[in-house]
């Protein structure tokens, strides 16, 4: 089963109002071609789930610049002043989440858990509106899964079944996002035939991946 599609086929699926999660950490490991195509398409009112909003010129920051997000879930927006401006001006709804909590929320969605207990954020603003549980004498917040319609992720190498490998720190949120969306689209630097990636070295199983767009 060859999961390759064109860049156009990929972005055609994403509509106004879609919830997208995008891999990458300060634009390292972001699927740049998919972002550029979304900018060109001009799709709007998107909800973004991403570690950060890149910079105004890099990564998902380009979609911030064009005001294509209605809502943003991120851990840190300090590298993109435009996100902060939109937030302060009430143009975009921004939810800030501790980084480890966000990673785990995305994993919970992909791995079929109803939530998890973490001590991160206890006694802080993060606690607001959340269920606080005491278990064996320790206080935790109940954090819920975070899922999306589309996961737009990056990989260094993919085989045509969608088994993925990474290089360097491009990995970050990509592997957890792979499992957490209804439709997962991978932008791969390189696509190889099935069997070329050693089964012992695969980082993301193809079972999580729906489509592959090859960078060219």
């Amino acid at each position: 089963m060859d999961k390759r599609i064109t860049l156009k086929e990929a972005v055609d699926m994403i509509k106004d109002g879609s919830v997208i999660m995008v891999g990458g950490f300060l634009a390292c490991g972001t699927p740049d071609k998919l972002i550029d195509a979304l900018v060109s398409k001009g799709v709007k009112d998107l909800t973004l789930i991403c570690n950060d909003t890149g910079t105004p010129e890099r990564g998902v920051g380009k979609l911030v610049a064009t005001k294509q997000f209605k809502t943003i879930y991120a851990t840190h927006i300090g590298t993109n002043k435009e996100t902060g401006r939109q937030m302060m001006a009430g143009e975009t709804e921004v939810h800030l989440i501790p980084q480890g909590t966000m990673a785990e929320q995305i994993r919970a969605a992909g791995y079929g858990l109803g939530g998890f207990l973490t001590a991160t954020g206890v006694g802080t603003e993060v606690e607001k509106g959340k269920q606080v549980l005491e278990v064996d004498g320790k206080t935790y917040l109940l954090e819920k899964p975070l899922k999306a319609d589309f996961a737009l992720i990056y990989a260094d190498v993919a085989d045509t079944k969608g088994n993925l490998k990474y290089r360097g720190s491009t990995r970050n949120f990509n592997p957890v996002m792979a499992a957490a969306a209804d439709v997962t689209i991978v932008e791969a630097r390189k696509v190889v035939p099935v069997g070329e990636i050693d089964a012992n070295d695969v980082v993301v199983p193809g079972a999580f991946v729906n489509y592959i767009v090859e960078e060219k």
């Binding site: 390292c28 480890g100 990673a103 973490t118 991160t120 802080t124 603003e125 990474y166 290089r167 990995r171």
Partner: protein, 220 residues
């Protein structure tokens, strides 16, 4: 009097003395990052970068940058032999699960019960907490490395008045004035920079400083 850069290096050098052989250490952005430059030669310390690896190495020479290897600040770095790359869930599993021995961060305020505020000033643009809350709640030992005051205003307080990053999280505070342990009894001054008297350090500190009977001079 030390200038700003000397002050920061002085603090970073003193923090480096806290690192033990075999430790996994996460350094925050800014002053804490300098600590990596002063690791004692006889100690093997592994630095973690929360965006996804252990084995953070020096900044590459000009022209040798690999943009697939960046630190949590987005700058090009390197990975040392024996290093390992992982995803964000694993990275914060390492952090939350207590597998990071020491985290070094800056702070806006620290309270005598260990509360810390370091990510948000109401009314100002909020950059977000990034990984700070997880590091504070997960690391085995939390060291705050910062200048003792903000332009003369105390940062070591009875109680924080900025929104907290974590509750009762700080173990040790290292400033240009001294080394302060956070204990159930409050702040305990355990080392003093000989340039300052205990009275001067207390004056720059809102909360009461208990002076350790074993008070030493800071030597870096």
């Amino acid at each position: 009097m030390m200038d700003k850069q000397q002050t920061q290096e002085f603090i970073a050098k003193r923090v480096a003395q806290e690192l033990q052989d075999g430790n996994v250490v996460n350094l925050g952005i800014g002053l804490p990052t300098l600590v990596a430059n002063f690791v004692p030669a006889d100690k093997s310390v592994d630095f973690q970068s929360e965006n996804g690896f252990i084995g953070l190495g020096p900044v590459p020479a000009d022209g040798n940058e690999d943009w697939n290897i960046v630190n949590a600040g987005g700058s090009c770095v390197t990975i040392l032999p024996g290093g390992v790359f992982f995803d964000s869930a694993t990275s914060f599993g390492i952090i939350r699960g207590g597998h990071v021995d020491i985290t070094v961060l800056g702070a806006l305020q620290v309270a005598e019960n260990g509360d810390i505020a370091n990510y948000m000033i109401p009314g100002k643009m909020v950059p977000g907490m990034g990984g700070a809350m997880d590091l504070l709640s997960g690391a085995k030992k939390v060291i705050v490395a910062m200048e003792h005051t903000a332009k003369g205003n105390p940062k070591l307080l009875k109680k924080c008045n900025l929104p907290l990053t974590a509750v009762k999280a700080v173990d040790l505070i290292i400033t240009e004035m001294g080394v302060i342990e956070v204990t159930p009894e409050g702040f305990v001054l355990v080392e003093r920079n000989p340039e300052y008297t205990v009275e001067q350090i207390q004056e720059a500190t809102e909360a009461t400083l208990h002076v350790s009977p074993k008070l030493k001079e800071m030597a870096v």
